[in-house]
């Protein structure tokens, strides 16, 4: 599954309001779902965070879960001007957050495959120092698209 095909401009927020970890997760979830569905997703994501932070280091976090509240794989991305404390693996705050929510039934295990791919892309973004580079949502999607194509070529 092509990651860029799961992304649209309205799912990328380059001026996400900084705040606590819970606040940024909630803001991103509400870009996908509203009301009780959103609250269910937020509860599950926060339970996941209790097991160990999804902050993978170098300013990036990837909160994720499966939820009954979604029908298909959903992704939202947010960047904050002021880094957020995420209790990351390297203890550094994060400014780029990839949120991924999958439905419980998932033929072909697309969720875990996509999650793995996002981790790879996130690492490329930090390696190439691209977190702050894109100025628009479209630019951000293009960067992800280019990195994804590069990863495919490398295989």
């Amino acid at each position: 599954m092509n990651l860029a095909s799961l992304l649209s401009k309205d799912r990328v927020n380059l001026s996400l309001k900084p705040g606590k970890k819970e606040d940024v997760i909630k803001d991103l979830v509400y870009s996908i779902k509203k009301g009780a569905d959103a609250e269910l997703i937020v509860s599950t994501l926060l339970k996941r965070e209790e097991l160990g932070s999804t902050g993978i280091g170098k300013g990036i976090a990837i909160p994720h879960c499966r939820s009954l509240a979604v029908e298909k794989l959903e992704i939202a991305i947010g960047r904050t001007a002021k880094p957020v404390n995420f209790n990351s693996i390297d203890k550094k705050p994060v400014s780029l957050i990839f949120l991924i929510i999958a439905p419980p039934q998932d033929p072909g295990n697309q969720y875990l495959i996509t999650l793995g791919k996002i981790v790879q892309i996130a690492k490329e973004i930090t390696k190439k120092n691209l977190i702050q580079k894109p100025k628009t949502e479209e630019e951000f999607i293009t960067i992800i698209n280019d990195i994804e194509k590069g990863l495919v070529k490398r295989k």
Partner: protein
Amino acid sequence: MADIIEMHLKLLFDLDNLIDDMDEPTYKQIGFKIEDEASLVLIRKRNELLKKLPESLAQRYEILKKRYRQAIAPVESDFCLGCFQKLPTELQARSKDIIACPNCGRILYWRRK
């Protein structure tokens, strides 16, 4: 389905999926940091949620989970996404109750539009 019961049931289901995913080799390979004893904490939380359900429903949930791994199946276009059988149309009218799929027995879940 009473809202509070429905909420506990859905959260229980999502937590069970989280526990199952953490055991997947593909998930472990991705390399997220997981605190020691994390799955025990999660199992305790899911057991607390289970106790908040009416006993008969909790028992039914556990039996279904054992049988199918996922006790709840979403409904899409009148199909149970657990067994992919078409559901009788009259079930739609009772979509707010806790209803089992007449074919596989999973608890059906109609997404709110």
